[in-house]
């Protein structure tokens, strides 16, 4: 009997993943319903722990700052709304994609891979490679929102779908060691900042280009808290290849001449489905590569707290529905 089980293990190991993983996919419905409640508890506990350790402090000063930030964000969002109207004109009357809501219902037991199980699978036309986002809304926790309020949030990509089963799918987070995807790195100029970078000209020649963002700097109560208020201006993007390294996102072999600085933004690449990049994270630090001083390694921090993910949205082409 033992020999038979060992033989079964070896057969599973040599079979292609698609065939070998069917017992794994078959087992998920037995775990997902209870896992959903478990993940609710986990994310609540992690959130509470974060508040206690000061990661998500909600003191009166912070609430005051948030109110101030909200006013500025509202103005900023009005500008973004006009930008979105312009994009709608580009896209035509119909949107090309839709967001399929899902919840994180499980984690993998070995954290050497950064993956989750989400409650949307082939039954909702979810397929491998679909991007997964969350929505971020700036809102003080003590203020109740009226029901059915239309909230203008911001999407942030947290990963992509891998191995969809009947009712669930594996979500590979952007920090997973085997995650790799093309992206765009945007150099940003903050309000009141001046920045000079090298920009490639039409004939391939590099020229210095300076941008001075004269936008107002947000200083609530005479000091700068955080960097959310104020309008950051993009200063041209460069194509990069992002890879997870288990803790954050790493961009290898980025030419030093691009002068990447902390605060620059990483977005997804432009595709037919999404003709604009969705934010993924911001540059935390850069390191000169040991082999070649002309290149730097850029470390990007994801916008969302990936260890307490709960509600996510799978981006899928609208024409997939019913197929």
């Amino acid at each position: 009997m033992l020999a038979g089980l060992c033989l079964l293990s070896v057969v599973c190991m040599v079979l292609p993943v698609r065939h070998a993983r069917w017992p794994s996919r078959a087992l998920r419905p037995a775990l997902a319903p209870i896992g959903d409640a478990g993940m609710y508890l986990t994310t609540r506990m992690r959130g509470r722990l974060g508040e206690l350790t000061g990661r998500e402090a909600e003191g009166p000063e912070v609430v005051g700052h948030l109110n101030h930030a909200l006013r500025q964000t509202l103005e900023q969002q009005l500008e973004e709304l006009s930008e979105l109207r312009r994009w709608r004109g580009v896209l035509g009357d119909e949107f090309l994609c839709r967001l399929v809501p899902a919840r994180v219902v499980g984690v993998e037991p070995l954290p050497m891979r950064d993956r989750r199980v989400v409650s949307a699978g082939a039954d909702r036309q979810v397929r491998g490679g679909d991007l997964v986002t969350t929505r971020r809304v700036l809102h003080p926790i003590g203020v109740a929102l009226p029901p059915e309020l239309a909230v203008l949030g911001r999407n942030a990509v947290v990963g992509r779908i891998l191995d969809p089963a009947a009712h669930t799918a594996t979500l590979q987070l952007v920090t997973d060691p085997s995650f790799s995807m093309p992206g765009q790195l945007w150099r940003m100029v903050g309000p009141g900042q001046k920045r000079t970078v090298h920009v490639e000209g039409p004939r391939g020649a590099w020229a210095e280009h300076t941008d001075h963002n004269r936008g107002a700097v947000a200083r609530p109560a005479g000091r700068l808290v955080g960097r959310a208020p104020g309008k950051f201006r993009p200063f041209g993007s460069i194509p990069v290849r992002m890879e997870g390294d288990g803790r954050q996102i790493a961009l290898a072999h980025v030419p030093e001449k691009h002068q990447i600085a902390p605060g620059d933004f990483l977005t997804t690449d432009v595709s037919e489905l999404l003709p604009f990049g969705i934010p993924i994270g911001y540059v935390e630090r850069t390191e000169r590569e040991t082999g070649d001083a002309h290149f730097v390694r850029v470390f990007v921090k994801p916008l969302d707290e990936l260890d307490s993910l709960r509600r996510v949205y799978v981006i899928q082409p609208i024409d997939r529905e019913g197929k």
Partner: protein, 178 residues
């Protein structure tokens, strides 16, 4: 071994591992580390079950249960590694006092280091985990092993309370039934 109860406890352990177990995850410079409850259970079984066949079957089941909750290639490997690790612990246990906390920690550390380092090497060889990050992954596997070993005495103590339900013939020194 009372297999129905064993399978129920395994199912509960898998549920805890894949949901609320995330509360115990710790961030380190090498990446997240987490205790693997099923590995601690395998160490308990290898130390306290009398029959060698029962130990190996239970270890294979626990390894396969862990494998089933993972994604990517190499399914079945953990089942074999759990089986081999449990066989090693089973052979070593006669030389130690199994009830001692230090013994449980050392046995769990050896078991986990063997299982998780071998798993990481295999995944790197398959190309599912990047070879360039091997040093970090090996360090992360060592961190997971230490964390699991540190919690194993607690898990052993909890399972000892359920011993009558779980085991038909609890073990003692020199009472092995082949």
């Amino acid at each position: 071994m009372r297999w129905i109860y064993f399978l129920l406890i395994t199912y509960a352990a898998v549920l805890i591992q894949t949901t609320v177990g995330q509360v115990l995850w710790l961030p380190t410079p090498a990446g997240w580390i987490a205790p693997v409850f099923l590995a601690a259970m395998a160490v308990f079984v290898a130390m306290f079950v009398r029959s060698r066949l029962d130990v190996l079957l239970a270890a294979w089941t626990l390894g396969m249960a862990t494998d089933l909750t993972l994604s990517g290639p190499g399914m079945g490997l953990l089942a074999l590694l759990f089986l081999a690790g449990a066989w090693g612990v089973f052979n070593l246990r006669e030389a130690f006092f199994c009830e001692r906390v230090a013994t449980q920690v050392i046995m769990a550390l050896l078991f986990c280091l063997f299982v998780f380092e071998a798993w990481a090497v295999y995944q790197v060889l398959l190309g599912d985990l990047p070879g360039g990050q091997f040093a970090r992954l090996a360090l992360q596997a060592a961190g997971i092993s230490v964390y699991t070993a540190a919690l194993t005495p607690l898990i052993c103590a909890a399972l000892r309370r359920m011993q009558r339900v779980l085991l038909s013939f609890p073990t003692g020194r020199g009472r092995e039934r082949r």
